[in-house]
Amino acid sequence: MEVFANLGAGFVTAFSPYNLLYCFIGVFLGTFIGVLPGIGALATISMLLPLTFHVPATTAIIMLAGIYYGAQYGGSTASILLNLPGTPSAAVACLDGYPMSKQGRAGVALFMTTVASFVGASLGIVILTIFSPMLAEVGLAFGPAEYFAMMLLGLVAASTLSQGSPVKGIAMVLLGLCLGMVGTDVQTGQQRFTFDIPYLADGLSLVALAMGLFGVSEVIASIGRVDSSRMKAQKITFRSMVPTRDDTRRSIGPMLRGTGVGAFFGALPGTGSTIASFMSYAVEKKIAKDPSRFGKGAVEGVTAPEAANNAAAQTAFIPTLTLGIPGDAVMALMLGALIIQGIQPGPRLVTEHPELFWGLIASFWIGNVMLVILNLPLIGIWVRMLKIPYSILYPAILMFICIGVFSVNNSAFDVMLVILFGILGYIMLLLRFEPAPLVLGFILGPLMEEHLRRAMLLSRGDPMVFLQRPISATFVVITFALLVWAIWAAVRGRKAMPEEAEPAAQASMERPAP
């Protein structure tokens, strides 16, 4: 079995002391920021991007990935104890986790979410291991037309299926594509939108963009809002974590179904762990014998979404690594990190950089085992960390942002850029535009333009090429269907808006920044 040989080699890579250390740093930080409301995986990954330039590509991606799936584990802790989601994908865990906590069953809820997370993640990794090489094989047959069509689909899916209005999502993707145009045009060497500023010749810095949009604007929005220090002290003893036989029996089915739902939505471009967890909650509620138990502390309302978001966090790597198409903004940052390191993700990645691909997959196993250890015996530490006041946290975040972005090129210009994007991010937040599609567009923009120009050159200027090739045509048709749906939803939403908008807007203002 080739897979086992490859995986074995991967474990050799992942078990090197250096990679183990970075894997641990990743999952530790991931849990930390997952637990804390007011700082998310996106902000943390963008903050740590500059640090990864100093280490080999495999090590860098192992750490960044660790932050992402680690945050999925930690996210539910605050949901259960405080009714405040630590990460957006853990929002569902509030629905039944917090009632469990009020019934004095917080320990059980925390235990079961960790178990569910591990189950979901493990099965997700198995799916990732099996399907990635297959998909990469398919990807090898792709030409520029397929790539362009697939990126188009990815962008449209990400913007229309994410939270908020589809039109605004598409607008943000387009804005990101525009920002991606800044810099030197690869084909002609022409400087575009650089306004004779030499710093812009290589394009806008991804690090500055991501940190500004996710880090700085999040800090501005969270100051004075996020306050978890008022939490009542709740002792989580080992004894309180033991689930009843009923809890276990009720959880097996939901965990497996959650994994299935999560694995599907994770691998799909444009949908990620947040959608996966909401979907799996809906599925459980629909098929439950007694749906009225949900919202009142039903254990399957916690375990299914938790398995789903962890499975999704793993399968999200499938399209990113094998096709070079990131499904969401976190994956876009991973892609950016690889590109900065000089590695072009795509179907050739598996064969050209096997140590990176299989090493990363092996590190997922190691990381998930580390996470179980971090989350079960050490849960008390995380519960106490919830009491760190935000007024200590945010100056530290700002310091890491400013010095981090400075350290990339040793340029104070990049620090100003981060502030500028922070301003943009805050304005977007006020006007209710999502920053995630923008980053996706920014990263894919230059690639898309290149594939478009190449496809058109090959077809001698005939745009029908995108419809003549079957794979590309399929992508275009799905994209078109999504767009029609989005426009239909926008038109319908115009009438439905006044009644629905008010409470929804209220809720989004109250909600702490993701």
Partner: protein, 149 residues
């Protein structure tokens, strides 16, 4: 006067203006090329018009529905911006420690209540962290204090 959704009204208008400017600028400055051989201007010009179109799609429905005004929180917004700019201005001139201290102190003003002791401790701790992680750990060529090597 009828109530409008000012949030989307502002957002849509900004997109419309930006998109039109982007397309105009790219069209003036860069070669469009042909469909077969696209120049550096083709993609940006198309993007600009698409952004403008999306701006209209956000803007127009907002004219016919109610919605609140965005409520910016100026205090954290302005203090954080000033903090970052001050950091950018002095980091190369005075060194990492003064820049970090300035950033921490200015950003602490973002909160309603200023806590001098906590801020002072935080400034010291973060300066030590900054120097040990970045100057010594990663070896970025920026000294703790200017003139020190």
């Amino acid at each position: 006067m009828r109530a409008r959704d000012y949030t989307d009204l502002i957002g849509g208008s900004l997109l419309l203006i930006f998109g039109l400017w982007f397309a105009y600028y790219a069209g003036q400055e860069y070669d469009l090329g042909t469909l077969r051989r696209m120049g550096p201007g083709f993609f940006p010009v198309s993007l600009g018009y698409l952004v403008a179109a999306m701006g209209l799609l956000v803007l127009l429905p907002a004219l016919f529905r109610e919605g609140g005004l965005p409520q910016p929180r100026f205090r954290p917004f302005i203090t954080i911006i000033i903090g970052g700019l001050v950091f950018a201005f002095i980091v190369e001139r005075l060194g990492l420690v003064p820049a970090t201290v300035a950033l921490v102190v200015i950003s602490a003003l973002a909160e309603e209540r200023f806590r001098p002791v906590r801020t002072a401790i935080l400034a010291v701790v973060l300066s030590v962290m900054a120097v040990s992680i970045f100057t010594y750990g990663l070896g970025i060529p920026i000294p703790a204090f200017a003139g020190m090597r």
